[in-house]
C-alpha cells in the first residue's frame, strides 16, 4: 500500500489531526494522483454503503423473547423469594433456638436436682403457653415454607 493511499484512508477514516487533514484535503485538490486515489476509495466506500446486512430470520425476535421469559423467571422473582426465604430462616432459627435455650435453662434446674431420667422437662415448661406458642409458630412457618418452595418449583417446570 503506497503512502498516498495510507494518507487518504486515514483522511477518510477521520483519524488525522486538524492540521494533517487540511494538508491532505489540499493535496486531493491539487495533486492528480491523490485525487484519483481519493475518488477510487470513495467509490469503494460507496460500495460498502450499498451493501446490505443480512436480514435476521423471521421469528428471531420471538425466539429471543421466549428465552428471555424463561431467563427472567428465576432472576426477577426469586430475589424476593430468596429474601423471604432468608427472613423465614431467621424466624425459624430463632423459633428453634428460643425454646431450646429455655429448655436448657429450665432443664438445667431439673438437671441440678439430678432428676434427669424421670423429669427432663419441668412442670413450668410443660405449662408454659409461650413455649407451646413458639413451637406451633415454628411448625406453621416450616409448613408454609415447604408449600411455597413446592409451588415455585412447579411454576418453573410449567414454564420451561
Amino acid at each position: 500500500m503506497n503512502k498516498t493511499e495510507i494518507n487518504i484512508r486515514n483522511y477518510l477514516d477521520g483519524s488525522l489531526s486538524g492540521e494533517q487533514e487540511r494538508k491532505i484535503a489540499l493535496l486531493i485538490d491539487k495533486d492528480a494522483a491523490y485525487r484519483e486515489e481519493f475518488e477510487e476509495l470513495i467509490r469503494l466506500r460507496d460500495g460498502f454503503d450499498n451493501l446490505l446486512l443480512p436480514e435476521a430470520p423471521t421469528g428471531l425476535t420471538s425466539k429471543i423473547m421466549s428465552a428471555y421469559r424463561v431467563e427472567m423467571l428465576p432472576t426477577v422473582f426469586p430475589p424476593k423469594a430468596k429474601m423471604e426465604n432468608k427472613f423465614e430462616k431467621l424466624i425459624l432459627n430463632s423459633l428453634l433456638l428460643v425454646p431450646l435455650a429455655m429448655l436448657i435453662i429450665y432443664g438445667g434446674i431439673e438437671f441440678s436436682h439430678a432428676n434427669i431420667h424421670r423429669q427432663v422437662l419441668s412442670e413450668e415448661i410443660k405449662s408454659s403457653w409461650i413455649i407451646w406458642a413458639l413451637i406451633l409458630l415454628n411448625l406453621f412457618y416450616g409448613t408454609r415454607l415447604v408449600i411455597k418452595s413446592h409451588q415455585f418449583t412447579n411454576s418453573k417446570i410449567k414454564i420451561q
Binding site: S15, R43, G47, F48, P54, I64, Y68, M72, V76
Partner: protein, 194 residues
C-alpha cells in the same frame, strides 16, 4: 419507547425489568448481532442460536454495564465472544484464519470478468463475495467499521485487540485484501467499476 435512546432504555430496564423495553433492544440490534454471528458460524440456524445466547448473556450481565462505551459496542463484543465460544465448542480450537487469496483463485476467476461501470447492486454483490473470501476477523473489522458505524477504538473493545494502531493495521490489511480480490473479480476494470 421505540424512539428512546439506548441509555434511557437500559436505565428503565435496570430500574424495572420490562418485556417491552427488552424487545425494543432486541428489535434494534438483532440484525447487527445476526450479521456478526453469521460472519463466524456461517450457518443460519447456528447464527440464530448464537444471537439468542448473546442476548441472554447481555441480560445476565446488564447490571455490569456502566456506559463506559456505547451499548451497541458492548453488545457486539458479547456477540463476538459468544460466536468464538460457539466455534470453539463445535469445531474445536479456534485458529486465526488468514487471507489466502491464492486459494480462492478458482472461485474468483470462475465468474466472467466485468467490464464497464457496475450498478450499485451488482457492486454490492461483489463486495459481499469478496468479504466471504477474506479472513473472518478481517471481514468482521470491515463490517463493524463500515456497516455498524463502530470507531477504531470501539472495534478494539469488541474484538479485544489492544491498541488503536493494531486495529488500524488490520483494517488496512483487510481493505487491501478486499481490493486485491475485487481487482481479480472485476478483471482489470476495478478502477472504473468501483
Amino acid at each position: 419507547m421505540q424512539q428512546w435512546e439506548d441509555s434511557r432504555l437500559i436505565a428503565a430496564f435496570k430500574l424495572k425489568p420490562d418485556d417491552k423495553v427488552f424487545e425494543v433492544l432486541v428489535n434494534r440490534y438483532q440484525r447487527y448481532a445476526y450479521a456478526i454471528a453469521l460472519n463466524y458460524v456461517k450457518d443460519e440456524t447456528d447464527a440464530t442460536d448464537v444471537v439468542q445466547e448473546s442476548f441472554m448473556r447481555m441480560l445476565r450481565s446488564l447490571h455490569t454495564f456502566r456506559g463506559g462505551s456505547r451499548f451497541s459496542t458492548w453488545l457486539y463484543s458479547l456477540v463476538y465472544f459468544t460466536s468464538v465460544d460457539w466455534i470453539r465448542k463445535n469445531r474445536g480450537p479456534v485458529f486465526l484464519q488468514v487471507d489466502n487469496i491464492e486459494e480462492h483463485y478458482d472461485e474468483i476467476l470462475h465468474g466472467e470478468p466485468i467490464a464497464g461501470n457496475l450498478d450499485q447492486k451488482i457492486r454490492a454483490e461483489y463486495i459481499e463475495k469478496a468479504l466471504k473470501l477474506i479472513s473472518e476477523d478481517n471481514a468482521m473489522i470491515i463490517r463493524l467499521f463500515y456497516f455498524m458505524d463502530q470507531s477504531l477504538d470501539e472495534i478494539g473493545i469488541i474484538m479485544n485487540i489492544p491498541g488503536k494502531s493494531a486495529i488500524k493495521v488490520r483494517l488496512f490489511r483487510a481493505r487491501a485484501a478486499m481490493k486485491q480480490i475485487l481487482n481479480d473479480l472485476l478483471g482489470g476494470h476495478a478502477k472504473e467499476s468501483l
